[in-house]
Structure formats: C-alpha cells, structure tokens
C-alpha cells in the first residue's frame, strides 16, 4: 500500500513537472508572436526563424553540455537511461530525471528568447544563433550552477548561503537574459533612423498588434507553468497548496502590472498605449517570479503593479540613453527582474536584501561580460549586423529570402 502511494506520488509529481514544462515551452510561442507583432513586416520572417531556431538550439545544447554544467552528471545526458533512471543516482528520487531535464531546458530557452527581441531588425540571424549556442551551452548553465545548482561562484562564495533566493528565476532566468540582451544591443547598435541627431526618439511602430497581444496572453498562460512548476511538486497537501497560491499570485501580479502600466502610459502620454500595457503584464509576471509563494494576494497584485510602473519609465529612459530595444525586453526582464529579486525579502524571511543584491550583481556581471565577449568575437569573425541596405530592404529578404506577407507587397 505504501509502495502504491509512493508510485502515485512519483507519477503525479512527474506528470506535473512535464505539464508545467510544456506550458513553459508554450511561452516560446508567446515570445515569437509578441516579437513578430512589434517588429516591422519586413523583419517578421527573420524574427520568427530566430525564435524557432533558438528553442531548438537551447534544447540541444542544454542536452549536450548545459545540463551537465548546471547540475552535474554526464554530458549528452548519458547517465539518464531509457527507463528514466539516473545510473548511480539517488535511490529515492520522487520524480523522473528526464522530467527534471525537460523542465529545466525550457527555462534555458526562455532566457535565450529574451535576447532575440532586443536585437531585432538589425542583427544577422546566424550571428544570433552562434551566440545562442554559447549562451545555452555555457553562459546560462554556469550561472545556473551557482544559483539553482548550489555551487560556489568560481569557488569563492555560495549564493544560497548568503541569503539569495530566486524561486522561479526573476534573476536567474529573466535578468540573465536581459544582461545578454543588453550586451547584444550595445554591440549591434541602434536601428537606423531610431534616434535623431538632437536626441529625438523616432517611433518605429510594430506591424501587427493583434499578434503582440496574442503573444502576451500566451506568455501569461505559460507563466503558470513557469512559476507553478517551480514548486517542484504537487502530490501532497502542502505542495498542492503552494502550487495554488503560486498560480493565484502569478495571475494577480500580471493583472496589477497591466493596469499600472496602462495608467502610467495614460498619464505620461495622454493615451492608452497597448504596447505599454502588454509590457506591463509581462513586467508584473517577472516581478512576482522570484517570490510567488510567500506574498498575500494583495501583496502580489501590488508587486506586479510596481513592475508595471517601473517598466514604463524604464522603456522611455532606455530610449533617452539611446539603447534601442524594439520590444522592451531589457526593461521587462532586466530592470523588473532586479525588482523581483529585491521584493523577495519583503515577504520571505529566508532571503536577505544583501543576498539578493550580491546574487543580482553576480548574475548580471557574469552574463553581461561573458555575453559581451561572445558577441564581440562573433562580430569579428562573422559580423554582427546586416548591411545598411539590407536593413532598409528588411532582414527577411537578406537573411531568409522570403517575405512574411507576400500578397501585400507589389510583386506577385
């Protein structure tokens, strides 16, 4: 009887992991649609290709070497046999090891996907994919090994011991992705025509706001897996309760972020800017991701609202600094990712502000510098940016040889 219950718990926890992992995978579709909606039509095919390919690259590179760097074990997942058991692994694992890999790999893909929007419309496709090989195979896994992996940072200090706590990855995944994105944006430069010589910021409107909205809703749904799955179990009263709280808080934070961003945009610009509202939803989600389990419902809503408030100001400030981010990725995931980390000690005594700050600096420092170096090498070897003429014609033609909406163009 006891064995039956154990079997059931194992099966349920594994099932839960897999379903949550599948929900996070669905976030890849969300990013793809959001980004496709916020770029111009002449750059749509390229960004879609980037999103599909980076997910595949992340899946493979993490299997080849990333998981091993982050959590130990053989490369190529050699230790995980066909029956799902880790050779020489723990006897009393409560869920299938392949499920652990599956759940982790979709997080890698999420971090990588953050970069694609920030460098959109002017980075060469294969330069980006080359970067994604390094990011998903090495940069992110090493950072992850210091955080969720529990290893000391270059042997010097252990973040967990210092009071660093990041439940589902505001810092570990989102701020890391944004750090890489910032490195990419700095090296690739702003889109032609985005900034004028006298500090003007020119609008380059996205081609398809319905897609951007759809993408945001898809991300919102997928985030239930992102945060919910990070409870790591559901087959007990305690963990089921935790999962329910996490789902509830995740949703409320998104809602708070959306309303806050909408109201701030209305106050600053006089109009309800949809793209700001969408970024606000995501900012709310990022803000709660580091600690969705401990706040009350009202606190979660307020935390999300703080994210939404912050993100609007961050987006306009980055433009003033001439850091061109077509989708607001650095603001949503980086600036608010940091906020998410700093909000954890407010409701969770296991985390400390100093621990969160040291963790944030470690993550940002490593990922930003490693990404800067990687992008720089790629720039020297492959070239990072399309030519001016290619940028004018659209990266769809130069990188992919096809148009997203061929029937709308003159040639047919």
């Amino acid at each position: 009887m006891e064995n039956d219950i154990f079997q059931l718990q194992y099966a349920l926890d594994t099932f839960y992991f897999l379903v949550c992992g599948a929900l996070v995978m669905w976030m890849a579709a969300g990013f793809a649609m959001l980004e496709a909606g916020l770029v111009r039509s002449k750059n749509t095919v390229e960004i879609l290709t980037k999103n599909v390919a980076l997910f595949a690259v992340a899946s493979i590179m993490y299997m080849v070497v990333g998981y091993s760097i982050m959590y130990g074990g053989d490369i190529f997942l050699n230790a995980i046999t066909g029956s799902g058991v880790v050779e020489g692994g723990e006897e009393n694992s409560t869920y299938a090891p392949s499920a652990d890999f599956f759940f982790q790999v979709v997080f890698v893909a999420t971090a990588m996907s953050i970069v694609s929007g920030a460098v959109a419309e002017r980075m060469k496709l294969f330069a980006f994919l080359a970067f994604s090989v390094v990011m998903t195979g090495f940069i992110y896994p090493l950072e992850g090994s210091w955080t969720w992996g529990g290893n000391p940072v270059f042997g010097l200090y252990t973040l967990g011991d210092l009071g660093f706590l990041d439940f589902a990855g505001s810092g570990i995944v989102h701020m890391a992705g944004a750090a890489a994105a910032l490195a990419g944006v700095i090296l690739v430069g702003a889109r032609k025509g985005k900034y004028g010589p006298n500090g003007e910021v020119n609008a380059i409107p996205g081609a398809n706001l319905p897609l951007a909205t759809l993408g945001t809703f898809i991300l919102w749904l997928g985030w239930f897996g992102f945060n919910g799955g990070s409870v790591l179990a559901t087959a007990s009263v305690d963990s089921a309760n935790a999962v329910a709280v996490v789902f509830m808080n995740t949703n409320l934070a998104a809602a708070g972020g959306c309303i806050a961003a909408l109201l701030v945009a209305k106050a600053l610009f006089g109009k309800a800017d949809l793209t700001m509202a969408l970024n606000g939803c995501l900012a709310g989600l990022v803000a709660i991701t580091a600690g969705p389990d401990t706040p009350s419902a009202l606190q979660a809503t307020i935390f999300g609202a703080l994210g939404g408030l912050l993100v609007v100001f961050s987006i306009t400030t980055l433009d003033k600094l001439r850091i061109d981010d077509p989708v607001g990725a650095i603001s949503v995931h980086g600036v608010v990712g940091l906020l998410g980390l700093l909000l954890v000690p407010v409701t969770n005594g296991d985390a400390s502000f100093s621990g969160q700050i040291i963790g944030a600096l470690t993550i940002f420092g490593w990922v930003f510098i490693a990404s800067l170096v990687t992008f720089y090498v790629i720039k020297m070897v492959l070239g990072l940016r399309v030519t001016e003429e290619e940028e004018y014609e659209g990266s769809d033609l130069s990188e992919c040889g096809m148009e997203a909406y061929p029937e709308f163009s003159a040639t047919r």
């Binding site: 910021v201 020119n202 609008a203 380059i204 409107p205 600053l268 610009f269 006089g270 109009k271 800017d273 793209t275 700001m276 987006i315 306009t316 433009d319 607001g328």
Partner: protein, 112 residues
C-alpha cells in the same frame, strides 16, 4: 471620351458606387491611395515617441465615360461623396484617347 478620376474618403465608396450605377455607369476601377490636400495629417504615438502621419488614406475611382455623361457623373459623385467636412476630395476630368475592350476587341464608345 473622358476619364473621370475622383479621390474620395474611403467610407464614401459604397455611396458613390451606388450613385454611379443608378445613373447607368457600367464599370469603375478603384484603388487605395494616400494623400492630403488642405486637410493636414495627424499625430500618433508609439511608446512615448510622437510621429506625424502626413498622408491620409483615400480611395481613387476611375471611370471611362462618354463626353455627354461627364456633367452627370461629376454631379453624382459630388453629391454622394460630400460630407461638408474638410478632406472630401477632388474630381479630375481628362481626355481619353483610346479605349479597347480586351475580350472582344471593340474600340471607342462601344467599349465603354
């Protein structure tokens, strides 16, 4: 034969088309165009950056018509397309040198 070209507000297209059928016009060509006259553009906003949209969407209608019907046509279009507000559009009349119906090869007024 004359070619009557009218640039009108897009939502007036159905009214104009009906008015033309009522007076016996058999065929028209419609294109979506952008333009402005004395009606200037407007300002739009995107993520905090303002930009001016100079060109407004309009619809251009072209009708090949016999000389005798020109005045009627102008009146029909004017009445149907008018709103009284700025941006109603303009009607141009030019001479048409030659018309051929592709299917049958007819030319001249028979091809209209």
């Amino acid at each position: 034969m004359k070619l009557v070209t009218a640039v009108i507000k897009p939502f007036k297209l159905d009214d104009v088309r009906e008015a033309l059928s009522t007076m016996g016009v058999q065929g028209i060509t419609v294109s979506e165009v952008k333009g402005f006259g004395r009606q200037k553009g407007h300002t739009e906003l995107y993520r905090g950056a303002e930009y001016v949209v100079d060109f407004l969407p309009k619809v251009k209608i072209e009708i090949a018509i016999a000389d005798g019907m020109v005045d009627q046509t102008i009146e029909a279009i004017s009445k149907a397309a008018q709103t009284g507000k700025i941006g109603d559009g303009k009607i141009f009349v030019s001479s048409l040198e030659h018309v051929t119906r592709i299917r049958t090869g007819e030319t001249g007024e028979e091809a209209l």
